[in-house]
């Protein structure tokens, strides 16, 4: 049983099928790439899988240790609670909060405090608060950001903002992580660092990562398997080597006849 099973998923906006009849399976601890030309429906697919949009047809099933959950009508926060997290194409950090607070909010989903213990400041509140803080700092340390704890997210350099978004997503302790164009707007050196970072997450956290990316060198470098979308439809899947040779994919990227 795969970790996530997407079965004939379709999303219509008015008359337009942004995602049409897409079926994919994600296994545990895989690193999968999702590629395709602009407007192919990649981000829409992410939004369907994380509850931002409701699917028109088809189903999304999450399987956690044999316990199956249908995600179709679930709200984003409930899907996040299940262990599915994401980043956004256009960075969506909590800009006026500190780096530490951003990460702490990520941790919140699995570590809810009682309102009464926090308002009354019971000892349990302080204990939990200290523990969460410690774990956040530990997480930030892995990504060399422990020196920016009190920096406002908006004041971070671009590359670090992208990185913080990934850390925040990891703080929710996901089993499945969607990264939406993490290398967008990065220079080659930053992209190289990011490539290492994604590898590191994949190895150290042992989670499944799905990556939307336009930077082909990055995708071919880190992904074990690729899915290719065009006009909302899945046109190919396979290893990077297979996709490189795939005629339909080449056609989709270069356009016209071959």
């Amino acid at each position: 049983m795969p970790l996530l099973t997407v079965d004939r998923l379709t999303k219509n906006f008015g008359g337009l099928a942004a995602v049409s009849n897409v079926s994919i399976q994600l296994e545990e601890n895989e690193l999968v790439g999702l590629i395709g030309p602009n407007g192919a429906g990649k981000t829409t697919l992410f939004n369907l899988l994380t509850g931002v949009y409701e699917p028109s047809e088809g189903s999304v099933t999450f399987n956690e240790n044999g316990k199956e959950t249908l995600l179709n009508k679930m709200k984003p926060y409930a899907i996040a609670d299940l262990g599915i997290s994401r980043t956004f194409q256009n960075i969506r950090l909590f800009k006026d909060l500190t780096v530490l607070d951003n990460v702490l909010i990520g941790f919140n989903s699995k570590n809810k405090q009682g309102i009464f213990s926090s308002v009354l400041r019971l000892p349990s509140f302080y204990r939990q608060e200290a523990e969460l803080k410690e774990r956040s700092i530990e997480l930030l340390k892995i990504f060399d950001m422990e020196n920016e704890l009190e920096t406002l997210a908006r004041n971070l350099p671009y590359g670090q903002q992208r990185r913080l978004e990934i850390i925040r997503a990891l703080a929710t302790q996901p089993k499945l992580l969607f990264l939406d164009e993490p290398a967008a707007g990065m220079n080659p050196q930053e992209t190289a660092e990011l490539t290492e970072l994604i590898r590191k997450i994949h190895q150290e956290f042992g989670i499944t990562i799905v990556l939307i990316e336009h930077d082909m060198s990055l995708v071919m470098d880190v992904c074990e398997r690729l899915y290719v979308l065009e006009y909302g439809q899945l046109i190919a899947q396979g290893t990077p080597a297979e996709i490189k040779e795939n005629k339909r994919v080449i056609q989709a990227y270069l356009g016209g006849e071959i």
């Binding site: 981000t43 939004n47 931002v52 956004f88 194409q89 256009n90």
Partner: protein
């Protein structure tokens, strides 16, 4: 049946006034996303300027109406220049508080004895009220005048917005001020023009309501101002047809509730208006004509 028709006419006259004020609200909102709380005060000033023109200069009604519209257009532009323009880049809520400050200021300056004083004044009967029988119902000539003038002004506005160069600039700035500027549109001029038009419409409403109710005072703008804002939201704020629709709807609802045969209901007329508004918003969160724009993720 006669009663319903009668109330329809009454409701439309009242609704015209709300619509005229709501148009100014909605245009300003459309272009700079500001809830211009001082707009009700422009309406009040319009009524007082019309009063001065008729009472002291003995001008005919329509001349006074146009005069008040021109004066208020100037006042509107001045307020925007002095109070709102410095805040263009800051938060919307800061601009909102400034607008409330301007509203307080105008009210209280007008309350000074040197200007109008706090007491209500009788608006001169520049046009004598006559009742006309139209079929089974009675319509006053002033109601017809209000309806007629409103329709003419709305058509005029529609022409300005859709057919003139300035109208095109207004639409462009409301969609994207920065892009409009890059296309060579003077954003400041366009915003000033919007305030001028909106203020003139409110002034027309003020002068006509003076004639209709015979009484004006410095606080007369507060309630209609608020209701017009409600009307603008009701129709979908930022949309010119929405403001007209909202204004007429609120006028009609109020009139029908007041005239309802259910005992004691009329005391709740404003509550019912707000209740319907909330229901409309829950069903259509951006007003009757508003488009639901989903944030791009």
């Amino acid at each position: 049946m006669e009663n319903i028709l009668q109330q329809l006419v009454n409701g439309l006259s009242l609704g015209s006034i709300y619509a005229l004020i709501a148009l100014g609200y909605t245009m300003v909102y459309g272009i700079i996303k500001l809830i211009n709380f001082a707009h009700g005060e422009i309406y009040m000033l319009g009524a007082f300027i019309g009063y001065v023109f008729i009472q002291y200069f003995h001008l005919p009604f329509f001349v006074a109406l146009v005069g008040a519209m021109i004066c208020c257009a100037g006042i509107g532009v001045l307020i925007e220049f002095l109070a709102y323009r410095p805040l263009r880049g800051s938060t919307r809520i800061a601009a909102l508080i400034t607008a409330i400050g301007v509203s307080f200021l105008i009210q209280n300056v007008m309350k000074l004895r040197f200007f109008a004083g706090a007491e209500p004044r009788a608006f001169p009967q520049a046009i004598e009220q006559k009742m006309i029988e139209v079929g089974p119902i009675m319509v006053s000539n002033i109601q017809l005048l209000i309806l007629g003038t409103t329709v003419v002004l709305m058509l005029g506005l529609q022409i300005i917005v859709m057919k003139t160069k300035m109208g095109k600039a207004m639409r462009a700035v409301s969609v994207d001020a920065d892009a409009a500027m890059l296309m060579g549109i003077s954003v400041n001029q366009t915003i000033s023009f919007t305030f001028a038009i909106g203020s003139a419409l409110a002034a027309a409403g003020g002068v006509m309501i003076g004639l209709y109710y015979n009484s004006i005072d410095p606080m007369m703008g507060v309630t209609p101002g608020l209701k017009a804002f409600v009307a603008a939201v009701f129709g979908g704020i930022g949309l010119i047809p929405g403001a007209a629709l909202g204004g007429f709807s609120i006028g009609l609802i109020e009139t029908f509730v007041s005239a309802s045969s259910i005992e004691g209901l009329s005391a709740y007329k404003d509550a019912i208006v707000y209740f319907i508004l909330i229901i409309v918003l829950l069903i259509k969160p951006t007003g009757l004509l508003g488009k639901n724009t989903k944030e791009k993720v």
